[in-house]
Subunit: 558 residues, 2 copies
């Protein structure tokens, strides 16, 4: 079994018609808008009719800091969803959509891996149901309306040097990072310097993923700040009357997409905001819909728990009124070894001491997760080369932390490999702690919120920010944005801002280099490192080997 590739396994899947998958959750066929036979959107009216139903239990899957060894967070999310179904629970999976552009650079990815995948894999790596294209259109319509407004007389007095709204494309295209537009004379407008980001970095993406319904979507779109006048007065998308048309473009995209796992567990795959300059979780619409339809909803957040789980709790759960019933922290023996100082080339050899040393990273994440008032369990995502002694070392360490680490073999065995994890998750969730709370209150000052995250989650000694940044934060507080949560943008590889510092460092400094206001999405981004919002293609892009084979199947995409 394990010799097959992900795509071979995915293609051999016995998919059910999407109407049958929807029926598992009680969605009538007429309320599914099919996209082919294996994908559908769940109709907005059906969703609106669910609002008085009780919620199922929400399980977050997060991970230790990522390493090149791989952790398998999505694989575990899918495997746990299948495992819960196996033990008789009505379960659903909620994960993010893939971005098209990067698939033509490095190879595109499965949603999950081995026998714990969501399908159809090809579609999910390509256009899927068109959500990202709709976001691109809405974003760029606003951009066109800005330059058009200036062109036709600029009644709003937009300072073209202070237009902050760029354009987006779902493509890795470094040539578009920095451009001068409106060249060519009077008929083409006023030349100015601007650029393109990749679509997943669009604030429209973050908005779509945080909106609770179509009205909230339009309100947030209207709140977007696109630039400023010479007097520094903000100009909103609403001032340009762009919010209505943007909402129309996003009407279908807001409806969650339903697909299935290899074991036919319903999976909502919807939205995909960046995990650095945005919050990195699938859409609120998908998660809240799934919670009305399933007893257990398994979801994940981007990067490690320091970034992903923190933002899931402090941004998504806070804003959507969600409370996770349990958190699964994924670790692998290999990744713990790397956290313990082993180089990638040496991962094949047993090294129990390194595993023990690397557990410091895991331990820090367990503490952090519990600090939100939520029970945690560790999933050891099994690799063939793991030794019994290494696995025992992880389990002993976690037991010493008052938690449990459960060996999971979903990659090789599907739901049979997560039965134990699923059982333990149900035990934890059914204890119903009701102790969940975000880390900081809305009314805390913006800089104090940054300090709180840095000190309590990263265990930093201090946050460094120059006067200009502090003044900017104060100005936003004065303007009424002080109640927003913080979206931290820093390296995912370390608790610090140095990607090479693995393990569990503490007492370090966190320098805030820049802050950005995402008034529509509803957070303030604190940038603590280099953020690349438009990737480039590598010297041998995957696109060169992507094509159709003689059977009409896609080759080279995976």
């Amino acid at each position: 079994m394990a010799h097959k590739t992900d795509i071979e396994i995915a293609r051999a899947a016995e998919k059910r018609l999407i109407q049958e998958v929807g029926a598992k959750l009680g969605i009538p066929a007429g309320d599914l808008l099919p996209y082919g036979h294996d994908k559908a959107k769940v109709g907005a009216e059906f969703i609106a009719g669910l609002k008085d139903r009780p919620n199922g239990k929400l399980i977050l899957v997060t991970a230790i800091n990522p390493t090149p060894a791989g952790e398998g967070k999505t694989t575990t999310t899918v495997g746990l969803g299948d495992g819960l179904a196996r033990i008789g629970k009505k379960s659903a999976i909620c994960i993010r959509e893939a971005s098209l552009g990067p698939c033509f650079g490095m190879k595109g990815g499965a949603a999950g891996g081995g026998y714990a995948q969501v399908v159809p894999m090809e579609d999910m790596n390509l256009h899927f149901t068109g959500d990202f294209h709709a976001i691109t259109s809405a974003h760029n319509l606003l951009a066109a309306m800005i330059d058009n407004h200036i062109y036709w007389g600029n009644d709003l007095g937009i300072d073209q040097r202070r237009v902050t709204w760029r354009r987006v494309m779902d493509m890795n295209d470094r040539a578009l990072r920095d451009v001068v537009c409106s060249l060519g004379g009077v008929a083409n407008g006023f030349p100015r310097q601007t650029g393109f980001d990749i679509t997943v970095a669009s604030e429209v993406m973050a908005i779509l993923c945080l909106a609770t319904d179509i009205h909230d979507l339009q309100r947030r779109l209207g709140d977007i700040i696109v630039g400023y006048t010479r007097e520094r007065t903000p100009i909103h998308a609403r001032d340009l009357k762009a919010d209505g048309a943007m909402t129309v473009l996003l009407k279908d995209a807001l409806q969650p997409n339903l697909v299935q796992s290899l074991e036919n567990t319903p999976a909502f795959v919807h939205g995909g905001p960046f995990a650095n300059i945005a919050h990195g979780c699938n859409s609120v619409m998908a998660t809240t819909t799934a919670l009305k339809l399933a007893d257990y909803v398994v979801t994940e957040a981007g990067f490690g728990a320091d970034l992903g789980a923190e933002k899931f709790m402090n941004i998504k759960c806070r804003k959507a009124g969600l409370a996770p019933s349990a958190v699964v922290i994924v670790a692998t023996v290999r990744a713990l070894k790397m956290n313990g100082g082993v180089a990638k080339a040496d991962l094949g050899a047993e090294n129990v001491d390194a595993v023990r040393a690397g557990c410091a990273n895991l331990g820090r994440h367990i503490e952090n997760v519990k600090s939100f008032g939520v029970p945690a369990v560790v999933a050891i995502n099994h690799f063939a080369g793991d030794t019994e002694a290494e696995i025992a070392a992880v389990q002993d360490f976690v037991a010493g932390q008052g938690s449990e680490a459960i060996l999971c073999k979903h990659w090789a065995e599907g739901s049979a490999g997560t039965e134990a994890l699923a059982t333990r998750v149900v035990e934890l969730a059914e204890q119903d702690h009701h102790a969940f709370a975000p880390l900081y209150p809305d009314e805390m000052g913006l800089f104090a919120k940054i300090e709180t995250i840095a000190k309590r989650i990263y265990r930093a000694g201090e946050v460094i920010a120059d006067k200009k940044i502090r003044d900017q934060l104060h100005a936003w507080e004065e303007a009424g944005y002080g109640n927003l949560p913080i979206c931290m943008a820093k390296t995912q590889y370390s608790f610090t801002t140095d990607p090479n510092l693995r393990g569990a460092p503490e007492g370090h400094s966190v320098p805030v280099r820049e802050v950005r206001l995402a008034a529509g999405a509803g957070f303030v981004v604190a940038i603590c490192g280099e953020i690349m919002t438009m990737p480039g293609l590598p010297s041998k892009p995957a696109a060169e080997t992507i094509g159709l084979n003689d059977m009409g199947q896609i080759e080279g995409l995976f």
Copy 2:
């Protein structure tokens, strides 16, 4: 009835499930890839299995030169499709998809009008089945791969001053017409001047619409010339290994879309190339598929017959091996009056003399259409203000030309209003002339082809082109492109290159200002006027009033 707007009529339509519409043509439900309940793509495998079936009869709907008074070509195409069904023929309609961008400038359009429309109207004006987004992605992937190739060492020796492949966006955005990209330093590449066109102007669009299957699509994509070396050697998309990935992106888009008319007649709405720098017809895949499934297929071509029908015959039919069995030339009393010199403000008053004078334009188109060896009939698209004397004047004129002009009231009455037209079309088509031939042979020289079109269709006295243009045409002939047809790009409002010269002028000069080689699409574009490949938004863009109403319906788009 006639007091309802197009959108009100469209929303009141009793749509059938798309599977029922497909069943009318014998398409099994499993071979339809649904997009919601009222749209579907017809599966590639099903289409491949049709190739040995006989073809139905192809009817082209074209028109006199367009005027601000409106002709109703699409409305008549839809009305005739319904009329053929009414008289017991298995009929299908083939029209183009709408472009998203322009809908946010001027109001978006119905596909047809009154009681002769194709639905769902909202979807067809927005993302529809995502075809145009796929084309945008494929086009821009190639663009990214060009700059990426140069960035990583430029093994092919592309001269960055001679990159002819621009980028595209489905948006009216004048700020993108002329840009400098790759600014910002070493990591962003080599700065160069370039720009964006609207997606419908992409050569990828023309290719998708001319491709006969997925293999032909990939071959054509590979043939695209993206630029030249310093030594003027062309660089093809194939040299960049982009053709495979582009094909993968377009795999679904190549499958024709099926929707329905208000009377549930199957309608293929697929592809939408510019009618100036491209050939302006719906896809070959849709037309050939429809011909295998229906006894009568009604289609249309962009602009008036001088541009639209000429390219339909000389490019689409030639390349796809199609032969129309009859041509319907649409005229209105109002538009003939404008051709006869009446200003738009004065169209309300009866003016039989002006109608008679304007008939010169109609007569010229009848002659031209017959010169392709195809029988022609005129459809008078009835407007409420037309007088009996005016209508009689048109009918008398056309009878004098040896043809027939039939009054059609499909806008107000649906298929009841085209019964006579449908009956006459069937009579003409069943005579089976088999006399169709394109205007010029493949082996004629490129400049001679331009002269042939200008003299025989436009009745010009001469074609003017400076030495540089003639040399360029010779160079392409030397390089093996001499067998390509010509795609004329000139004003649609006149037989001349002056948009104000209505009626039937002759003996004028046609200046060719520029020629372009579309090696993938397979034609040489001869530009005889200003061609705008990226529109701008007006001072009060429609986007400002587009939004959702309290019932969740889209307002302002139509």
